[in-house]
Amino acid sequence: MNPDEHKQVDLEDRFLTRRQFLQRAGMGFGALSLASLLGEGLLSVANAQEAEATLLPKTPPLPARAKHVVHIFAQGAPSHVDTWDYKPSLAKYDGQSIPGMEGVAMASPFTFSKKGKSGIEVSEVFPQMGEQVDDLCVIKSMYTDIPAHEVATIMMNTGSRLVRPSIGSWVLYGLGSENQNMPGFVSLRPGGPPPGGTANWQSSFLPGIYQGVSINTKVPTLNQLIENIRNPNTPLPEQRRQLDLVHKLNELHSQNLQKEAQLESRLEAFEMAFKMQTEATDAFDLNKEPQTVRDAYGRTSQGNQLLITRRLIERGVRFVQVWAGGWDHHQDLEEKLPDRAKDIDQPLAAFIRDLKQRGLFDSTLIVWGGEFGRKPVRDRNGGENPGRDHNAKAFTTILAGGGVRGGMTYGATDEFGSASVTDKVHVHDLHATILALLGFDHTKLTYRYNGRDFRLTETSGEIIKAVFA
């Protein structure tokens, strides 16, 4: 067989073993999606490469402002009127009924003051984040569909309350990962699973490689972080020799067979696995950080999570989901909310400063927010120490870095913060905006499943261009 002929066959094999994938993929690359829709057999090499169901890095079809996403999920639904959405009228009407709402207004127990050059009002519960406010874009006009934690949490992560791929999976599908020795989408949680469990980082009908790798950062040892990451018996140099033998065995095995991409890609998988053993564990090993850095983040659960996050981003991980919940304050809001704010205040401020110092801030989009907001009135079940009930009509989400303009607010709620009224931003709009920052037209990042092209934003989604830097 002459070399060209061999190449030809090999190429077609590579292509065809990906046929299933090609028929489904739509990433906004015009030629590709057209060809894939037609189910045509002959694509150019470049397109076949681009469409491969691997984690290899891909260039987005449109100019990108951000390359990585860090989504800090303030699960439980933080009260926006006590943190980022200052409503003086609540103090004025405290204890009185307000128009159009059941119950009586509850003044925020916290003081707000103007911070930074931008003079954005920030609650005292976020002293350090207040110092960084000129880096933040505060979206005050968020809203979602259903004020139930689990549904809304899944909605925020997948754009749906049904079984759909998470935003991290979509991003990984669209962009691949910059580091082949690491998972491309990591979800960090300090303990048990959040409401909705795996639904929050699932790949659903997207291929399994786009699923988030969920890691409990509270587990006691490194090798529990990623299953089978360490070999209890074989030292690495010895394992290297063993792996070389495996490759030789595989070569002999495939000699008589048709060249199969599936067989060949196993070689890459084993090599990546071998490297992951050191690189992935290294990424999670905070002992490698100087004491000053550890102190800056605070040696707390969230401090550690964000420091791990920075180490992951540095290594090219595409999407990191960080669970920082506990915000469901139906009662005792005055006492309990500041604790949750304190959990994240120092770590997040340190994280932003750290990314800036390392030149990663501009390419990393940071999202902080919950699944919905809270009502401006006292929760009837709150008793003596009141809190606030769920509210799907208004909440605040914060963006920073990654091509977002700092020191700005976007949109507004009504006088009491009971509903978003100006420049409303639905969850789909937020998703469309995140994808746009990464260089995707959210209507074109699609995947065909059951005869339909699915996308993260379902049938809606407006890009909020005003937040772009």
Binding site: V9, I209, N228, I229, E238, L257, F274
Partner: protein, 800 residues
């Protein structure tokens, strides 16, 4: 046999001929452009006012057919083909003229406007023909192959030099010959018995079974192997698992109703066992269908109450926090995709975009399942033996149930009293009690088996159409009945209870061409790696046409004529030459048919996780061959029972399953993904189960008894790959073992990774916990390491 084939007679064809002509006029790229770009814009933005189905047609303009578009409306022609600038439609969507802006509510995005401009410029190619109403479909919809009656096709005459062993082969050969291809020579006997054994029972053949087959030179030697495997009780474990993928099986509810429901389904496994048993018994497939939809309405279930467990097919889905419409949707989905390969649930919010499934049909099904309930007390389907163990169980359960009912009574009072703490405490206790009951039922072997049944409500009732899928926006009531596309005119309306039994009978009917085709396709897929139709759960318009439509129909006919016996189909397929081909490559053929759709060779197939893990256990002699029973609760999946018995938790699937492309239990999965990820490699490199197996293999007496290295090596090859090593493989192995033995003495240092700092509850670092000091690892011996390498190599994970 006389069969009434009523398909689609109800459909009115309007200008069917001109429709064909129109479609033919379009080039594929024009058609593609229209379907992907233009039709969605028109459907989403214009049809509401400009289609025959519009409540009120505005401006006398119809944009739902080519004729309508060309004719224009009250203001005259709306497009001038080839000239966007002169076209009113383009002017309107550009929003330039304040008096002419369409769509009224909102300007289209720029890319859609550009697409419309381009379309007009192209001459407005348009395949759509005028329709009378939504009840009418274009002929390409009605003529789609999948819903045509099954054809009785003569077996082709082929000149194949005696290659064909069965009629199946003749169909295959005819297609190969058309393309100038030839079938591969047969695989050697070792390859063949390995392939057949993995295919049918999901395990490797034992060395003795291989030897017996090699020694049997009779012409029916392979038929004997196939028959032996089909009679094995492990057959049901293998093929039952394929079906459980379709049935989106899980032992948990995913999202239980708050407060009064636990996440665990303590008796889902009775459905799993029913499935395994049904395959083992070769239950006629039409009966299998009937039972899974309506076992409670069949007289046979009275004689054999365990059959009631069949209804798990409907009830093992997610509970969607008790949201009834989502639960119903899930049931419609599993029935429609599982048996008919139809995406009926696409019609939840609107008529199906591609297939002839009107939204009303969805709500006909909705009415059926809305007329069913899960009874609070599931029927006991195993005889109760009053043993001491049972009495203890019973006592515990009664106590918990008593506690539960007390709490349930007190909760409303506490809520009224506004005693927050007491209320919350009681609710927490209730949740715990409910969980304890579920766990007791799940784990206590004395607990009698229950079937997860569904029952009809006292009176069946029809559902209204939910406009745009919104339950708050109700349209007309639709009768409960079968799909229009698969029915004769005057579709019967279901009156028998919920109508579930009638639905089951319509699906299992010989007149329904989809049911046998869909199952045949599933069987074929698991023998060859891909079905005739590559999308086993969707035979709709968007699916690829079958590679061998005649053979598919031939097999479907055989299937029905032979009492819907799945085992007879296996036998027919496996005794054909096409099944027995070798997997050897052929560059010339690969250029003609690179995907091997025509089956000129056998496909090299990766083992799914279950047969992979089970084979590791079997190779090491560790496999627990017990059948059936309560699920094994073991997230690490290191028990010795077959993988199918491990508990599946849909809300929290074990990482190892996810990494190996296990079927997502939230959706019908006729074909699993096949991704290759490093976590799979890590499993084979580092998982204790694999390492222990390597140790076990070289500690077997048969291995130790062999004195020379070459013979030891042969033992490992036979055990793991069911074949003998080639000389070059022997050489490679001997070199590795010798050099490793030399190294064993010199290196012993583990590249230790220091454990991470741990934090206590206050975030302070914890100093070396005592119980967590890693044991000093013992490095593997040369032979152990070699055995593990064989397990990691491709051959152990693939079947050719």
């Amino acid at each position: 046999m006389k069969r009434f084939l009523p398909l689609l007679l109800s459909v009115v064809f309007l200008s069917a001929n001109s429709g064909r002509a129109l479609a033919a006029d379009l080039t594929p790229s024009q058609l593609e452009f229209f379907e992907s770009k233009i039709r969605p814009i028109l459907v989403d933005n214009c049809y509401k006012c400009h289609s025959v189905d519009a409540e009120k047609i505005k401006g006398g303009l119809l944009l739902d057919s080519r004729d309508g578009v060309l004719k224009g409306g009250d203001s005259g022609k709306v497009i001038v083909p080839g000239d966007p600038e002169a076209s009113l439609l383009i002017k309107a969507v550009r929003y330039g003229d304040p008096d002419l802006q369409m769509p009224k509510n909102k300007k289209l995005p720029d890319d859609q406007i550009a697409a419309l401009e381009q379309w007009v410029k192209m001459g407005a190619p348009d395949p759509r023909v005028a329709t009378a109403s939504s009840k009418t479909w274009t002929d390409n919809k009605t003529n789609h192959w999948a819903w045509q009656p099954i054809k009785r096709v003569p077996v082709p005459e082929v000149d194949d030099n005696g290659w064909s062993k069965t009629p199946v082969d003749k169909f295959i050969f005819a297609k190969l010959a058309e393309k100038g291809l030839q079938p591969n020579p047969p695989a050697d006997k070792r390859t063949l018995i390995r392939r057949a054994t993995f295919d049918l029972i999901g395990l490797p053949p034992t060395p003795e079974e291989v030897q017996a087959f090699l020694d049997d030179s009779s012409p029916d030697a392979f038929a004997k192997v196939v028959d032996r495997l089909l009679a094995s009780p492990h057959y049901g474990e293998r093929w039952g698992r394929h079906w459980l993928d379709v049935a989106r099986y899980s032992d948990t509810k995913g999202q239980p109703r708050r407060n009064d429901e636990d996440n665990v389904n303590p008796f889902a496994w009775t459905y799993r066992d029913y499935v395994i048993r049904s395959f083992n018994e070769d239950k006629p497939y039409n009966r299998f269908v009937l039972e899974q939809i309506a076992a409670d309405r069949l007289s046979t279930s009275r004689q054999n109450p365990t059959n009631l467990a069949a209804l798990g097919f409907l009830t093992v889905g997610d509970h969607f926090m008790g949201m009834q419409n989502d639960i119903i949707n899930d049931r419609i989905d599993v029935v429609a995709k599982g048996f008919l390969a139809l995406t009926v649930t696409c019609a939840r919010c609107h008529d199906h975009k591609f297939d002839p499934i009107p939204q009303k049909d969805y709500y006909s099904f909705h009415g059926i399942f809305a007329s069913c309930v899960e009874p609070k007390l599931e029927p006991v389907v195993s005889p109760i033996k009053v043993t001491p163990a049972f009495e203890t169980y019973h006592e515990q359960r009664d106590k918990l149930a008593f506690e539960q009912s007390n709490l349930e009574t007190s909760l409303p009072k506490l809520r009224k009293n506004k005693d927050q703490e007491a209320f919350k405490e009681a609710r927490r206790t209730l949740q715990r009690v409910v969980h304890d009951i579920a766990m007791l039922d799940l784990t206590n072997t004395a607990a009698p088996m229950h079937a997860m049944v569904l029952e009809d409500t006292v009176r069946g009732h029809d559902s209204p159409v939910f406009l745009r899928g919104d339950p708050g926006n109700r349209g007309e009531l639709v009768p409960r009945r079968f799909l229009q596309m698969l029915s004769a005119p005057n579709r019967p309306i279901y009156t028998n209870g919920s109508g579930r039994l009638e639905l089951a009978m319509a699906i299992a009917s010989k007149n329904n061409p989809l049911t046998p085709r869909v199952m045949i396709n599933r069987i074929w897929e698991h023998h060859f790696g891909e079905g005739f139709v590559p999308t086993p759960d969707d035979f709709g318009m968007m699916s690829e046409p079958p590679s061998h439509p005649e053979l598919l129909d031939y097999l479907a006919t055989q299937f029905m004529n032979n009492g819907w016996s799945v085992k007879k189909i296996h036998r027919l397929i496996m005794l054909s030459s096409v099944y027995q081909e070798s997997a050897t490559g052929n560059p010339r053929f690969a250029e003609i048919d690179p995907g091997n759709r025509l089956l000129w060779r056998a496909n090299t197939r990766r083992l799914e996780f279950e047969p992979l893990r089970d084979s590791l256990l079997a190779i090491g002699g560790m496999l627990d061959t017990n059948l059936y029973g309560r699920p094994v609760q073991n997230r690490a999946l290191d028990s010795n029972r077959r993988t199918i018995y491990n508990l599946v938790d849909r809300a929290n699937i074990a990482d190892v399953l996810v990494n190996f492309d296990f079927a997502n239990p939230d959706m019908v999965t006729g074909a699993r993904y096949q991704t290759t990820v490093p976590q799979q490699a890590l499993y084979l490199m580092n998982n204790p189960l694999v390492i222990n197996l390597a140790k076990k293999l070289v500690a077997m007496p048969d291995f130790l008894d062999r004195t020379d290295d070459e013979s030891k090596l042969q033992f490992l090859y036979e055990r793991i790959y069911q074949r003998l090593p080639e000389p070059v493989e022997t050489q490679l192995g001997l070199e590795f073992v010798t050099s490793t033995q030399l190294l064993d003495d010199s290196t012993n240092a583990l590249a230790a990774i220091p454990p991470p700092e741990q934090l206590n509850a206050k975030g302070k670092p914890v100093k070396h916990p005592v119980n967590n000091t890693p044991k000093k690892p013992v490095p593997l011996t040369a032979w152990q390491e070699y055995a593990q390498a064989l397990l990691q190599a491709n051959e152990a994970s693939f079947v050719n």
